[in-house]
């Protein structure tokens, strides 16, 4: 380029003029634009403001306590950690206009069944029922107060919460055994299941009571406790709730 500086060719000059006009035009247009289009901090701020200003539909569990103290205090028992809006739906509008806008009060069976129907993927210990056989057609609230859902009778069987295990056992070789044959559940377990745990057997001799060489129960298959299974506990290989399939 240095060679050409003293005398730029005519076509190059024309070209530079055209480019110069274009570039100047771009800068001019850019300077005429409103700042929102150019400054990043403005658009970030406006986004934050816009997001923060969106309407709230769920009031939050604390908001209900202001007027409905009796439910929040009485909401003991198993549902105490539920938010009111989990069952009653979005209630922000109700807090703003309590007289005219009422939240939904679910009374149909399908509503409770959604959480409490049996599902094999649900964690052990979550109370599940089979809606077809469990008091069919009756509204759940007629026996269970939703704000303190103690069952009307203490569940005699473990099945109410341990549905998956009960169902497995029901089609296994251990079907005739009660849960209490192997597990001892103190009364406190039905009230505070995660705090008071049921007991589980601790050694091989326990299974040996039925499956050992000299054991009483005729139908139970027998093994030699001293040699079978080396040093492992029985349930490290055999799933006790479904021993046949392993």
């Amino acid at each position: 380029m240095m060679k050409f500086l003293p005398h730029l060719p005519e076509q190059l000059v024309r070209l530079l003029v055209v480019f110069g006009v274009l570039v100047a035009g771009m800068f001019f247009v850019r300077s005429m634009l409103p700042p929102e289009l150019k400054d990043t901090s403005i658009h970030i701020q406006s986004t934050l403001d816009r997001e923060a200003a969106r309407p709230v539909h769920y009031a939050g569990s604390e908001a209900c306590a202001d007027c409905h103290e009796e439910y929040t205090i009485k909401k003991g028992g198993y549902h105490k950690n539920l938010s009111c809006e989990t069952c009653h739906g979005a209630a922000k509008e109700h807090t703003e206009n309590p007289a005219e806008v009422k939240p939904n009060v679910p009374r149909l069976r399908e509503f409770c069944v959604r959480c409490h129907t049996f599902d094999p993927s649900r964690p052990t210990g979550f109370p599940q029922i089979n809606p077809v056989v469990h008091n069919p057609l009756k509204p759940c609230a007629s026996c269970h107060n939703p704000h303190d859902p103690k069952p009307p009778t203490v569940p005699q069987e473990c099945q109410a919460c341990h549905a998956e295990i009960a169902r497995m056992k029901a089609v296994s070789r251990h079907v005739l055994l009660d849960c209490t044959t192997c597990h001892n559940a103190p009364n406190g377990h039905k009230i505070s299941p995660r705090v008071v745990k049921a007991s589980i057997p601790t050694d091989r001799d326990f299974c040996g009571k039925c499956h050992g060489s000299g054991a009483q129960m005729k139908e139970a298959p027998k093994i030699d406790l001293t040699s079978h299974g080396e040093k492992y506990l029985c349930w490290q290989c055999h799933y006790p709730h479904q021993p046949g399939l392993d």
Partner: protein, 403 residues
């Protein structure tokens, strides 16, 4: 809510196999995003062919030099259209120029495109044609005279010195034009290759493969156009030129094929987690577009044909026929390559557990007809440009600028 969109999605649900994340049901980058890399690939390829003349002084290809440049320009002008039509908010597309996020490869589009258009392609064409359009304008009437004089920016200097300057500039621009062409199409490959979330795209080879398949498609396109336009002009096809172009096409196809083969072998050998779902993808959804169209028809068959031409002596007519069929197959193959990358990469779930389907619409902004139109439009623009800036010795009685 939005009935036409969701109607389509309900239909798609039936075609889902395995598990996909619920948001993945919609394939976001449609055929328009297949057309875009195809078009920029043609631009890069045609330009590379043109640069063979200027930088490496390949004399046989001289006669298609200007045609290649005009082809590159007409496709480049159409290139932003598929992108604009695909955006959810084309009205805000200027934001890419005004507020680019420099960590994003896509933000480079504006600058790379503007650079390539303004500084490389337009300037090269201008300096190449300047002398001719000034001389043509002298013997013309309105409106051609005005068009040519305006295009020349009302320049009048056709002295030896000025013409020598023009030639120097053209050579210089071509030299910076080659890496610019690489950048123009390579960055598209990088857009895909840098997405770590998608194992079909995420690869170091992606920009390179894109580039070489672009070169293949560009050279093939110029050959195709040359073989169609020349008989129209009632001129004989220069077999030396054609053979030379086909040679370069052959070398480019070999490199492209090797790269794709390398990618394939590498994936199979490494056998990463995604290999299961990707194998399923290739064998089921992409079997026709990848196995048959891209590899068999688009690469192996033309490769075989060109090897045969090199080994045996075919006469001119047979060679012309074989070249013609090969370049068409190659175009289909490269389009299928783009399809397999873009659409294929969205047809499997990032959960690696399922496959979805792409239902291409016929009408609408993202439909087949629009894509076909976008592929034909550059040819229309090219036809207009050939009228205004004839790339061959024109009917007018003026000296043709040769080197």
């Amino acid at each position: 809510m939005n009935n036409p969109i969701t109607e389509k999605l309900y239909e798609l649900l039936k075609q889902v196999g395995g598990y996909i994340y619920p948001n993945e049901i919609e394939i976001h980058w449609s055929i328009l995003v297949v057309v875009y890399p195809y078009i920029t690939g043609l631009v890069a390829g045609a330009f590379i062919l043109a640069s063979l003349v200027k930088v490496f002084n390949i004399q046989e290809v001289q006669s298609v030099y200007r045609l290649s440049l005009l082809t590159a320009l007409s496709f480049l002008l159409v290139a932003p259209l598929p992108l604009l039509l695909h955006l959810g908010h084309p009205d805000r597309s200027f934001e890419i120029f005004l507020n680019p996020n420099f960590s994003s490869a896509m933000a480079m589009f504006g600058f790379v495109y503007a650079w390539y258009l303004m500084v490389v392609l337009l300037l090269e064409i201008w300096f190449t044609y300047r002398r001719d359009i000034i001389l043509w304008a002298k013997n013309e009437r309105f409106p051609m005279r005005l068009i040519h004089r305006t295009l020349a920016l009302f320049s009048t200097d056709v002295s030896e010195k000025a013409v020598r300057f023009d030639k120097k500039v053209v050579k210089g621009i071509t030299i910076i034009g080659i890496p610019s062409a690489f950048l123009l199409h390579g960055y598209v490959g990088f857009i895909f290759g840098s997405i770590k979330a998608n194992p079909w795209w995420s690869s170091v080879l992606m920009p390179i493969v894109f580039l070489f398949s672009a070169i293949v498609s560009g050279i093939a396109l110029v050959i195709l156009l040359y073989m169609i336009i020349t008989p129209f002009r009632k001129e004989p096809i220069d077999m030396k030129c054609l053979d030379k172009m086909a040679s370069y096409l052959f070398y480019a196809v070999i490199v492209d094929f090797s790269l794709e083969l390398l990618d394939f072998i590498h994936r199979l050998y490494q056998s990463e987690e995604s290999i299961k779902i990707l194998s399923e993808l290739v064998m089921s959804k992409l079997f026709v577009s990848l196995g048959i169209i891209q590899v068999l028809l688009g690469m192996l068959l033309p490769l075989g044909v060109m090897i045969a031409i090199k080994l045996f002596r075919f006469d001119d007519e047979l060679r012309k026929l074989l070249y013609f069929v090969s370049v068409i197959l190659i175009q289909l193959g490269i389009f299928a390559t783009r399809w397999n990358v873009v659409i294929g990469g969205q047809m499997f779930s990032k959960s690696f557990r399922g496959l979805t389907a792409y239902k291409m619409e016929l009408t609408g902004f993202e439909g087949l007809f629009m894509s076909l139109f976008l592929l034909v439009l550059p040819l229309i623009i090219l036809a207009i440009m050939i009228k205004i800036l004839p790339p061959w010795e024109p009917e007018k009685n003026v000296e043709y600028l040769t080197d």
